[in-house]
């Protein structure tokens, strides 16, 4: 190659469209003949699996161009459905782009899931070799790093135990340990830190930092953990609806993501039902005095309203939410599974769940809510960091001053002053 110190990654006009109905056209007759003849009950299944011909075409990623110099760590952020995963899958060669091109210089390893290919029946030792080779390592490389991997995962005693007997923590530790000992020139990582306990997440972040700083390696990192993006990445790419909204420093991209110029949804967001979901959210809103509102003065009574729809009437819809600060810290969470809530004992096809938060002691600032909706078995619809709202300052105590925003929460504390007799 002529350009010796060229960028590690060059993407030019990458785009991926899903046109399920068009693409399957020439096979439809064969398939329909088969299914009509023998498998009528499975048509429903096929529709749920998303291969129905009535699906609309859409561009998951469009016109994405960027360059990443060697050794740079780039965070890719954006809401659910912004195209982050599709972009990473194209760069990982898992899906083929519909248009555009990308060139990657160097050995590429991608880590879109922890423990891809792990087999529960095999021992930790066997899985290290299997998973390592699936990730693209040579047997020799795995053998060289075997001790390190085992030490990092802290599974020495269980090396010859089938991983189905591992605790979920051990499983994740082992899986990440294998991946962390990959030695690629370009590493593509998707949201793998969302699993595991806090302590382990910290160690993973440390390891990733070490990888990116020590080896001059290029890293593309997708995460919803804004604190991690700030800590690890030097640059950030913000995606919105499949297009690049902003390319800047990581801090600027995170700020743009978490603190949009203005909350553009007036306190309510509408959702597209995820394919295959049996129950989904139509919209969600923050209510102040019973009305959707994008901002509320400190000390307001706040509620959260979720309107849902179902494929078949469902009993006991489960809603969970997490309130996060603008920089991503999770402040509080709630779930009607664990808290007293009027249950829908009668199956409901559509409905509205209102969660009264009461007076929430939030300091002025931007906040965001992540939402989960499911039935009693699983989550069907997840919208992370989706509902923004702002708390505005107010002179709560009528003292003519506003408390400085030194924390996320305030509390109606009271002070007593009394004199202590000296020398008593």
């Amino acid at each position: 190659m002529s350009r010796e110190h060229g960028p590690a990654i060059v993407a030019e006009g990458l785009g991926k469209s899903y046109q399920l109905s068009h693409r399957n056209d020439r096979h439809t007759s064969l398939r329909d003949a088969l299914t009509a003849a023998a498998t009528a009950p499975w048509r429903r299944f096929r529709r749920l699996s998303g291969t129905d011909a009535s699906m609309e075409e859409f561009w998951a990623v469009k016109d994405v161009s960027f360059e990443v110099p060697q050794g740079e760590v780039v965070g890719i952020i954006g809401r659910n459905g912004a195209g982050k995963s599709t972009l990473l899958k194209m760069l990982s060669r898992i899906v083929e782009p519909t248009e555009g091109s990308a060139m990657l210089r160097g050995r590429v390893a991608s880590l879109l899931e922890v423990g891809t290919g792990f087999h529960p029946e095999l021992s930790g030792r066997e899985n290290i070799y299997l998973n390592g080779s699936i990730l693209g390592m040579k047997k020799r490389e795995i053998t060289e790093r075997f001790e390190e991997i085992v030490a990092f995962a802290e599974i020495e005693k269980f090396l010859d135990t089938p991983v189905k007997k591992y605790s979920s923590g051990m499983y994740v530790r082992l899986a990440f340990a294998v991946a962390a000992h990959l030695d690629p020139e370009i590493l593509i990582v998707d949201e793998v830190l969302a699993v595991g306990d806090a302590e382990f997440q910290k160690r993973c972040l440390g390891k990733m930092k070490q990888i990116s700083e020590g080896g001059g390696r290029t890293v593309l990192f997708v995460s919803h953990n804004m604190a991690a993006v700030r800590a690890l990445c030097s640059r950030g790419i913000l995606l919105k609806k499949g297009r690049i909204e902003l390319q800047d420093t990581a801090d600027a991209a995170v700020d743009a993501y978490m603190l949009p110029e203005q909350v553009d949804h007036a306190g309510a967001v509408r959702f597209k039902p995820p394919s295959g979901a049996r129950i989904w959210m139509d919209d969600a809103a923050v209510l102040v005095d019973g009305e959707p509102a994008a901002s509320a003065p400190m000390g307001s009574q706040i509620s959260l309203r979720i309107r849902f729809a179902t494929e078949t009437p469902t009993r006991h819809p489960r809603i969970g939410w997490v309130l996060q600060s603008a920089s991503g810290e999770r402040l509080l969470n709630s779930n009607n599974r664990y808290q007293d809530s009027p249950a829908f004992d009668e199956p409901a096809a559509t409905g509205e769940i209102v969660c009264d938060l009461g007076m929430l002691p939030l300091m002025p600032g931007r906040y965001v809510i992540s939402l989960w909706l499911g039935d009693t078995a699983i989550d069907h619809h997840v919208e992370l960091e989706t509902l923004f709202f702002e708390v505005t300052a107010r002179d709560l105590w009528g003292l003519g001053q506003i408390p400085p925003p030194a924390s996320f929460l305030w509390w109606p504390t009271s002070y007593r002053l009394s004199t202590v007799a000296s020398g008593a």
Partner: protein, 281 residues
């Protein structure tokens, strides 16, 4: 300083772009990641024997139980001709390659569907996923072939020089199984309904293959047509090799050709549909 070592290595350049039409097989990539195939085969073999209560015994039991049932029904009751050999040994020589073929095809055809994470979460030479199903088939075959030795001793049939042809015939069975398995795995991942078709297909296929009957019951001028089914020539050749009866070279030749044609088609179809796997899986 580490970046400089990067440049000292042979530079890997990955070019990603839409590739219309037929995509050639990347032999270099397959060779470079051959260890992955080894670990996938190793996994299949280990899991196969770990998961079953009977372990290795299963590899023997499956053809032996079929042999017993077929011997009673087709040998004793239906008086199926067996070219002068004890029916048990005759049907077992057919079951050896047939069990390999049917297990390998069934496993390979479900392989992509059962391991979707390997399609949607990582890039690897996907041809390896159904191909690895051949590995445990070979191990099963070796075990059930060992049992065949006992059977021969019991009936006092001694094999001749034909035994030397067995490795080549196994290789030919792999060619046929791989061809069918690749095509079916690609169809099944696209049209999930197809997984219910495959078992039926294999069942019908068995009756179209000379497992329970000899090829010789078909008029000789039509045998070449029957041999378009690769398993016809292969099973017949196994009998020739193991029982020391004359070879039907026409049937073997036609079946060998159609095995390779099937492999070529399987590879072609797999590569052509491969780019959509992650989208539909």
């Amino acid at each position: 300083m580490n970046t400089s070592t990067v440049h000292d290595k042979v530079e890997h350049v990955t070019l990603i772009r839409p590739r219309p039409g037929w995509i050639a097989i990347n032999w270099r990539e397959l060779w470079e990641s051959r260890e992955l195939l080894y670990f996938l085969v190793l996994r299949d073999v280990k899991v196969r024997y770990k998961q079953t209560v009977l372990g290795v015994a299963w590899a023997v039991l499956q053809p032996v139980l079929s042999m017993l049932v077929f011997t009673v029904i087709f040998g004793r009751l239906a008086k199926m001709p067996s070219e002068g050999f004890p029916y048990a040994i005759f049907v077992y020589t057919g079951l050896l390659p047939w069990t390999f073929f049917s297990t390998a095809v069934a496993t390979a055809s479900q392989s992509l569907l059962n391991q979707q994470a390997l399609l949607t979460k990582i890039y690897l030479p996907r041809l390896f996923v159904p191909s690895s199903a051949m590995g445990s088939g070979v191990v099963d075959f070796a075990v059930s072939f060992a049992f065949f030795g006992c059977l021969m001793a019991y009936y006092g049939v001694s094999p001749g020089w034909g035994l030397l042809a067995v490795p080549a015939l196994v290789a030919l069975t792999i060619v046929a199984s791989l061809g069918v398995g690749l095509a079916l795995s690609a169809v099944t991942v696209t049209y999930r309904d197809f997984r219910y078709v495959t078992p039926f297909l294999i069942q019908v296929w068995m009756y179209l293959s000379p497992v329970i009957y000899p090829v010789s019951i078909v008029p000789s001028e039509w045998q070449w047509l029957l041999a378009l089914n690769p398993m016809v020539g292969i099973i017949d050749a196994f009998r020739a090799a193991l029982l020391g009866r004359p070879w039907n070279l026409t049937a073997l030749g036609v079946s060998a050709l159609s095995s390779f044609a099937m492999l070529a088609y399987g590879l072609f179809y797999f590569r052509r549909t491969e780019r959509r796997f992650a989208d539909v899986a």
